[in-house]
């Protein structure tokens, strides 16, 4: 098979097909569901990898594109394709999915068929979002993904799983519904101007200005901001994260949150460059505020998972600054930081999950001195923690650094506020690390905990490898997004003017 749309479709739909197959397994074969799911998500990674290697970073526009008729009465078409940015998100998703599956082998014991089917369906939904180039198709994937995630949290989650899953579902969906109204408005507006009914994303670039453009932009922005989640639309996240099973948290942090940012890059900003130019600063300011706010609230937690969840608010806040500042380095950094956050926070959730499986508690107070009992695990956790707080040499730094440096040229204040996160992240992450891993082993229940097992190593090693790889040689990834980033900035009407450094001026 050529590296082209067929491969893309294969990568998208293979998991779903496998999911259906697993759901239909007879009860007696339930034990096969896990291995089957792992196999299929690994198999789906192969075409994704092939696409990534076959991706030509120099070409502008979409690659591996396919355009088929779909709902002709509506003018909706089945259009898919990838550019540098979505390619990166695509491969990230395909990469995290097998890890999520593998992390569930011992954690999930009930309704395994349905569980793995949901996980795989979720994978298809996420991949679809990144590949979709038709607004309706995008929306369908965007919302459809909520269903399996809702099940994953609601069935295999923690004690308050129902509250969390319903909140997650309603909150994110409610946010998206206004986007639906905005899509419809655009659709008819486009028809009245051109006489053509279409949902093609490219048809809507720079499609409305003035007050209307602003209203529409805000409708889209709300949908994406909830997903990001941008302060103050974030409170569904801690609940969802805390209650979700490990795999759910990995996917949630690793991919789902990225969709909000991706939505800004692919849709909200290019569709309404004028509005984005105006509203960019306030929204980025919310992001920068979220950096501080998320860090402070993370600091106040005694539940590890909740801490990590709040740290996501901080991390994605800075990403939003990078995306909206429309400076090449900052946007590249933001895109890379999406991946970084996916890796490091995904790994953090993975590690927390490993702890939870052993002790069935997520309260830091129940731990202490774990470094002595599980030295290898402590080392892994340390690397992941450092990646999360943006230590140079690891992945997190590259993204944060590029965002800060790029954003500083345009919005120095926001960059400086975000810089506060650099300090605070060390405060809460190392505080957590200390409480869990250092000190004497005070709790006898912790004395006999086994260190990492082979399966767990297999889960974390790929993540660690990438964490280091991106930290040391980020250019491998940056090179492939350069063209797409420039396209984005061009569509967004950027770059923004840099602030004046001339002498005597303020």
């Amino acid at each position: 098979m050529m590296i082209g749309p067929d491969l893309l479709n294969l990568a998208i739909y293979l998991p779903l097909a496998a999911g259906v197959l697993i759901a239909l397994l007879p009860r007696a074969k339930e034990h096969l569901s896990g291995p089957l799911a792992l196999t299929s998500s690994l198999l789906a990674f192969i075409p994704a990898l092939a696409l990534y290697t076959g991706f030509d970073p120099a070409l502008p526009g979409m690659q591996f594109a396919q355009d088929l008729p779909w709902l002709s009465a509506l003018g909706a078409r089945y259009t898919i394709g990838l550019d540098g940015i979505s390619m990166l998100m695509f491969i990230l998703t395909a990469f995290l999915a097998p890890i999520a599956v593998l992390s569930s082998f011992t954690a999930v014991k009930e309704h395994r068929r349905f569980y793995y089917a949901s996980l795989l369906a979720l994978q298809t939904g996420m991949l679809g979002v990144f590949a979709a180039l038709d607004l309706l198709l995008f929306y369908v994937f965007w919302e459809a993904m909520l269903i399996p995630m809702y099940f994953i949290i609601g069935i295999w989650g923690g004690r308050r799983r129902i509250y969390a899953s319903v909140k997650f579902f309603i909150y994110t969906m409610a946010g998206s519904l206004l986007m639906l109204a905005a899509i419809l408005w655009l659709y008819f507006d486009h028809q009245s101007r051109t006489g053509v009914y279409t949902f093609a994303l490219t048809a809507y670039n720079n499609s409305a200005a003035g007050g209307t453009g602003m209203l529409l932009f805000l409708a889209f922005a709300l949908a994406f901001a909830v997903k990001v989640p941008l302060w103050p639309f974030h409170t569904w996240l801690p609940d969802a994260h805390v209650e979700a099973p490990t795999a759910g948290s990995i996917i949630l942090a690793g991919v789902l949150l990225k969709m909000g940012v991706y939505g800004f890059i692919r849709i909200a900003v290019p569709f309404f460059p004028e509005a984005a130019m105006t509203a960019g600063w306030p929204i980025a300011a919310l992001g920068a505020f979220g950096v501080i706010y998320g860090s402070l609230t993370a600091w106040a937690q005694d539940d590890i998972k909740k801490l990590v969840a709040y740290s996501s608010v901080a991390h994605l806040g800075i990403v939003m600054v990078g995306v909206l500042v429309l400076e090449p380095a900052a946007v590249s950094g933001a895109v890379l930081q999406m991946v970084n956050h996916g890796l490091s926070t995904g790994a953090l959730f993975l590690c927390v999950g490993m702890l939870y499986e052993r002790r069935h508690t997520r309260l830091m107070a129940d731990y202490g001195g774990i470094a002595k009992i599980m030295p290898a695990f402590a080392a892994v956790f340390m690397i992941v923690t450092l990646s999360s707080i943006g230590l140079p040499g690891l992945n997190g730094f590259i993204g944060e650094f590029l965002i800060l440096f790029g954003a500083f040229k345009v919005w120095p204040c926001l960059a400086l506020v975000s810089l506060g996160g650099v300090i605070l992240s060390a405060v809460y992450m190392l505080g957590m690390y200390q409480k869990v891993f250092f000190g004497p082993v005070s709790n006898t229940a912790n004395k006999e905990l086994p260190d990492l097992k082979v399966r767990e190593w297999l889960c974390v090693l790929p993540l660690l490898a990438l964490i280091v790889w991106i930290g040391v040689y980020p250019n491998f990834f940056l090179r492939r997004i350069d063209t797409a980033v420039n396209d984005y900035i061009r569509l967004a009407g950027g770059p923004r003017p840099v602030f004046s450094l001339a002498k005597g001026e303020k």
Binding site: L74, F114, E143, I147, I155, I162, M173, A174, A181, L184
Partner: protein, 464 residues
């Protein structure tokens, strides 16, 4: 009468439903369902293969054009599903099978006639043919709740019918015609036209009652709850579809800006009231009843697009009917007591009977309008009409109402998929094939919306 084939296409489906219904009254109870089902299936087949032309053997009184064909397909399919999905056990235990399988198809015949006629008197008579069997059906279990539901329905239905007659009288008195098409004449500003307009509003109120629009909706939860569940399914699907379609016909026939304004408010109130009132419900039937109120509001949102909204309204009705019948039928299968199933009663269903739980989840999610289920595409296209009709504000209300609705729809799914509970004890029964088909349609119908939208678009010229 030039073409006997056309005449046959018009008459045969009505007879194919009515005659087996009468047979169902006469045969052994065990055969009644088969008789009614076969009749409906045959009629469905006949309609499906017919090639309608706009020929008027009975003037405007009975028309068989592509529009009628589409209407009938929908009504017949819904009625067929309601009949075959009536649990056999329920019939043996509580429902008098002969009467049941007589009354239900006859009501369907009424619906067919109602949608095939072009004059208001015909519409009214047909409406009564629909309603009278329904009053009886609602009370068919002959329990206290059933009797209460039946009588309430009867009282309010008759009340509405009387208003409709009064409306027809004034309309006729002002316009001098009872043809639906003559409603176009009321768009002036004379006293006569005001009277006609008021009369027309009374007529529409009668159908708004059947379609369960606010403020004519209050009977709905009580009746749906008290009636036998398969009857609720029929009412919520076929009858509502008939009422909405006739309402749409009247609405676009008048095509009066004033009505757009009025319907704007009615739609908004209906969506809001239906969804909000459903939130605290714990009985699934009552919840679905409120849900059906809300869906009438969504459908009204589509009306804002005027005549061209027909494909969207039609598609949505089809999808909505499938999901509603499916949901009610599953409740019918699962219920043990008269009152139907509560949320607690669904607890643990997923573990006990994953197939049924999955199907119910699909139906409910479609009602909630979540992609990739058909309900989403239906809603999408419906709301699109309102945007096209320059009513974006109503769309905003509609999407907010949809957001509210998520809570109670999810509560059903949450109950099924959480832990062990009452439903764990439900004996595993086979899931009827029809239910699977409905599920498949709801699951995939959205991706094949063309199958509905394109024929409906072709039938557009036949709307008044």
């Amino acid at each position: 009468m030039e073409n006997p084939k056309t005449l046959l296409d018009l008459i045969a489906p009505l007879l194919l439903v009515a005659v087996p219904a009468i047979i169902a009254l006469l045969v052994r109870p065990a055969w009644a369902q088969r008789a009614a089902g076969i009749g409906l299936a045959a009629a469905l087949f006949n309609v499906a293969v017919s090639a309608p032309a706009n020929i008027l053997p009975f003037g405007q009184s009975l028309v068989y054009d592509p529009l009628t064909k589409l209407f009938w397909l929908l009504i017949l399919a819904a009625a067929f599903a309601a009949v075959v999905l009536t649990p056999r056990a329920a019939c043996a235990a509580e429902l008098p099978a002969n009467e049941y399988y007589f009354l239900l198809p006859i009501s369907a015949v009424g619906l067919m006639a109602m949608l095939a006629t072009g004059d208001l008197i015909g519409v009214f008579i047909a409406l009564e043919v629909v309603s009278l069997p329904l009053y009886a059906l609602a009370a068919a279990r002959r329990t206290a709740a059933g009797a209460e539901a039946g009588y309430k329905y009867f009282l309010l239905g008759s009340f509405g019918a009387a208003l409709t007659v009064l409306g027809i009288a004034f309309f006729y008195g002002s316009v001098g015609s009872v043809l639906i098409t003559s409603a176009a004449a009321i768009s002036g500003l004379t006293v006569t036209q005001a009277a006609a307009s008021a009369g027309f509003l009374l007529i529409m109120a009668g159908f708004a009652f059947k379609a369960a629009l606010v403020p004519f909706h209050m009977w709905v939860p009580d009746v749906y709850e008290g009636a036998p569940t398969p009857v609720s399914a029929f009412m919520a699907s076929a009858v509502k579809a008939g009422a909405v379609l006739i309402l749409f016909r009247l609405f676009v026939a008048a095509d009066l800006p004033l009505y757009y304004k009025i319907f704007w408010w009615v739609a908004a109130l209906t969506m809001a009231a239906g969804n909000i009132a459903a939130l605290p419900q714990t009985g699934v039937k009552r919840m679905l009843a409120y849900s059906s109120v809300a869906h009438a509001g969504y459908l009204l949102t589509g009306f804002m697009g005027g005549k061209a909204a027909f494909p969207a309204v039609y598609f949505y009705l089809a999808v909505y009917a499938a999901a509603t019948i499916g949901a009610f039928s599953l409740v019918a299968i699962l219920e043990k007591e008269e009152k139907g199933v509560t949320l607690d009663g669904l607890r643990g269903l997923a573990a006990a009977d994953p197939a049924k739980a999955a199907l119910l989840a699909v139906f409910v999610l479609s009602l909630a309008g979540i992609p990739p289920l058909a309900g989403f595409f239906g809603k999408f296209w419906l709301f699109a009409q309102a945007v096209r009709g320059a009513a974006p504000g109503l769309v905003v209300i509609a999407v907010l109402a949809s957001a509210v609705s998520l809570y109670y729809y999810l509560s059903i799914i949450t109950a099924m998929y959480s832990g062990k509970g009452d439903a764990a004890a439900v004996p595993r029964a086979a899931t009827p094939l029809t239910l699977w088909l409905l599920g498949a349609f709801v699951l995939l119908g959205g991706l094949a919306a063309d199958l509905f939208l394109l024929p409906a678009a072709r039938a557009l010229p036949f709307l008044p």
